[in-house]
């Protein structure tokens, strides 16, 4: 089993944000998670990434329970998450962001030999240049590579978030509304990047409200409402389901 959530529940005081969610993700697929605002989608991703701890339930990553693991351990194990509101190191440049995000591949590549690179003038960065260049090119961030992240457009910030996650070489990439707030061109660019990732073997789990974009991209969809899973299946079927339309638009539209 690649990834599985079993009876996952998160309560914040009296509010149950995620309620008894059970689902699995297979290697290589793109899973979309739909649901209106407040349906618990972001909480779900935060639970998987280890940013918050579930009240109940299990998270199995390659048959190992990862509940209670620190986020950096989960990232090192292969699950990386991007943020809905771009999280950046504001004053650093785009290139510096990617160099920081290269921490995990460098760790995998060199292990404890990283300590030896401290003695060298380049600090062991030479090995990463090629990968950094590839990600910059793919995400179309080459032109702004030496600009401070604080000066990027909103779309640029979001793309940088995806680019950093790519540098981590995750096996399962969790994307929290990557297309929200993006222009048409930027969405197309994102679509291209995500397909490239899938083609290179990365499994994706994506939340977004742009149902057209995500419906075309995803292999499978899960719809959530009030923290519960209401339906799971092919995206077209899920989006046409009466309960999903009702959750989004209210009773009477279904």
């Amino acid at each position: 089993m690649f990834f599985e959530a079993a009876n996952l529940t998160k309560r914040f005081g009296g509010l149950t944000a995620v309620d008894d969610m059970s689902f699995a993700i297979a290697r290589g697929e793109i899973v979309a998670i739909f649901g209106p605002n407040g349906s618990g989608k972001t909480t779900l991703l935060n639970l998987i990434a280890g940013l918050i701890r579930p009240t109940e339930g299990r998270l199995l990553w390659k048959s190992r329970d990862i509940v209670g693991s620190r986020p950096h351990r989960i990232a090192a194990a292969g699950i990386v998450k991007t943020f809905q509101n771009p999280q950046l190191f504001a004053e650093l440049t785009v290139l510096e962001h990617l160099m920081i995000a290269a921490h995990l591949p460098l760790q995998r590549q060199l292990g404890l030999r990283r300590l030896l690179t401290l003695l060298r003038a380049d600090g062991g960065t030479a090995q990463l240049t090629e990968r950094v260049e590839r990600v910059l090119r793919l995400c179309r961030l080459e032109e702004v590579r030496d600009e401070a992240a604080a000066g990027l457009s909103y779309g640029g910030e979001k793309m940088l978030g995806v680019a950093m996650a790519m540098m981590c070489e995750p096996e399962l990439l969790l994307l929290d509304e990557p297309a929200t707030g993006l222009g048409q061109d930027e969405v197309q660019n994102l679509d291209r990047v995500l397909r490239d990732l899938r083609d290179h073997g990365t499994t994706l789990c994506v939340i977004d409200h742009k149902v057209g974009f995500l419906g075309r991209l995803a292999d499978r969809a899960i719809a959530m409402h009030h923290g519960r899973k209401i339906i799971e299946g092919p995206p077209a079927g899920v989006l046409a389901d009466a309960r999903v339309i009702e959750a989004y638009l209210g009773r009477g539209h279904a």
Binding site: H103, T117, G124
Partner: protein, 325 residues
Amino acid sequence: MKAGLAWLPLFAVPFLVHNEVALTILIFTYILGILAVSFNLIFGYTGQLSMFHAAAFGIAAYVTQLSMAYLGVSFWIGMVIAVLAVSVLSVIVGTICFRFKLREFYFAIVTLAFSEMVRLVILNWNSVTNGSLGINLTSKPTLWLPTGKVITVEGTMAWYYLSLVALLLTVLVCTRVVRSWMGRCFAAIRLNDQLADTLGINVFLYKLVSFLVGNAGAAVAGALYAFYLGYIEPGYLSIDQSLAIVAMALLGGRDSMAGPIIGAFILTALPHVINLGAEMRIMVYGFILMLTILLLPKGIVGLVARRRRGAPGLLAALVKPRDVL
């Protein structure tokens, strides 16, 4: 490379300047520079406002002297023991603070509390530390020259070069660290530790490493300072000393290696330029700190870096605006 050349004139200073006071100020600047640069690794680069730095400085001064007195070892072995002792303490204090995720002023207050605990122990453990009277140090470090000759480090010239080389080594080590992947982890933690965590950076570990390496630098400074001055007292660990270190980093600028050294120089030279009593000095420190924060958030280095575009030169080479990454 250019920044390396900027060090050369400092080696020539004793041949050009024969003023004892000026050279003494420079020796203190170099030793306190080690203290300030190592502090800035924790503060400026990793973003943790440690108030433990004066404690690491003072503990090392005592441990060096006490190991020489009780174990009969040389100054250098005593210094190594001091660095090890400070490292062990740093791991304990750091683990407590970083496990509980203490940030900013919470971290400052708890590290300050640890410093005060150690200071009170030293102050009251009369039989070993001689309490508030302190200890007069009569021995001096010795050096083995490549020719086989053994010299005692005494007098201004010997101390000048010893302290300059020690500072140079500290800056070299710190520069290597901050320009490496480890320095990138420090920067990531300073700027957004939650993001660093999700990118697979072990925030706890690298905060601890930064704290440990920084305090080890303070330990070296403490041993040198004590034996140059020839006197140790609990005041080494005082809050005033901690604040003076913060002032050095803020005044010079915390985004570079040169900043804290420039800050150390100004705060060392100031009492000689304007004649001040000890109490007045603290007031001046506080005043400078306030003015710097209000007028020069990036310190003197930030000011120079802003103006340097038209005028490359020795100062510009020495003052690199940002050594991170």
